[in-house]
């Protein structure tokens, strides 16, 4: 059962990712990205990461993507026009990417030691309780720093958007 789920949602993710890259209008790309995130949430569940899956849906799908769509609507972004600049990126990009994927594939299959198979329910360690424990004991310092980071981001966003009034 989990195999089928994996295959289905993996294909959905890849198709949505392709759609994101190939679509002309930003709003279509945004909706594709939501699709990707959703399928990834399912994959997290299959891997036993229940808290992360939930956070993915709530934070990414519910907050970040909403923000994206809001900004797209605000800016009234239209379809893209063709541009001839940055020919270097366009020409060298594809071979580099293919090489990149090939290299990673080789490393995963060849260099890494044999990995286990994924079985839904074989590991139940991804609970919120465990994450909370780790977060507030072993990873306390990064946690605090992250909170300051969010504070700074809020301030930055407010300052950047605020200028026009003065």
């Amino acid at each position: 059962m989990d195999t089928i789920l994996f295959i289905v949602f993996a294909i959905v993710a890849i198709v949505c990712a392709f759609n994101l890259v190939l679509q002309r209008h930003p709003i279509s790309s945004a909706l594709s990205l939501i699709g990707v995130m959703g399928s990834l949430a399912v994959l997290y569940l299959l891997l036993g990461a229940e808290f992360i899956a939930m956070a993915q849906v709530i934070v990414y799908g519910g907050a970040v993507m909403v923000l994206f769509v809001l900004v797209i609507m605000l800016l009234n972004a239209g379809t893209e026009k063709i541009s001839r600049k940055s020919w270097f990126a366009q020409i060298a990009g594809l071979p580099l990417l293919l090489a990149f994927v090939a290299l990673l594939g080789f490393l995963i299959r060849g260099v890494l030691p044999p990995l286990r198979a994924v079985q839904f329910g074989s590991w139940v360690g991804g609970t919120a309780e465990r994450i909370g424990q780790m977060l507030f004991t072993q990873y306390l310092l990064p946690f605090e720093i992250i909170s300051i980071l969010i504070l700074i981001a809020i301030l930055g966003a407010v300052v950047l958007a605020h200028k026009e009034f003065d």
């Binding site: 990834l40 994206f68 893209e80 990995l115 991804g126 969010i150 966003a157 958007a161």
Partner: protein, 105 residues
Amino acid sequence: MPHLPPVPLSWYLILSAILFALGVAGFLYRKSILTVFMSIELMLNAVNLSFVSFSYELQRIDGHIYSFFVMVVAAAEAAVGLAIILTIFKNRGTLQIDEVDSMKL
């Protein structure tokens, strides 16, 4: 229902690599700033998948913690980044990244 063999973890990792590559492709080939930004988010998600997979492999929770942090950072970055995009739109009137190239020699 036919009993299919379980999915090896390496497939998750390869999926992560493909998603990451697609994100880079979007970054390199799209002109609209917003699309570029979304490609960045795609890349971050791919990395998250990789973290969680390895967490499953090692049967430890640390991967989840890293993934959580990545998510937080991505959210903060999205907020600030979109604010910057708004400012650029106000100043330049364009959303093409090719036209935001005044920092050159």
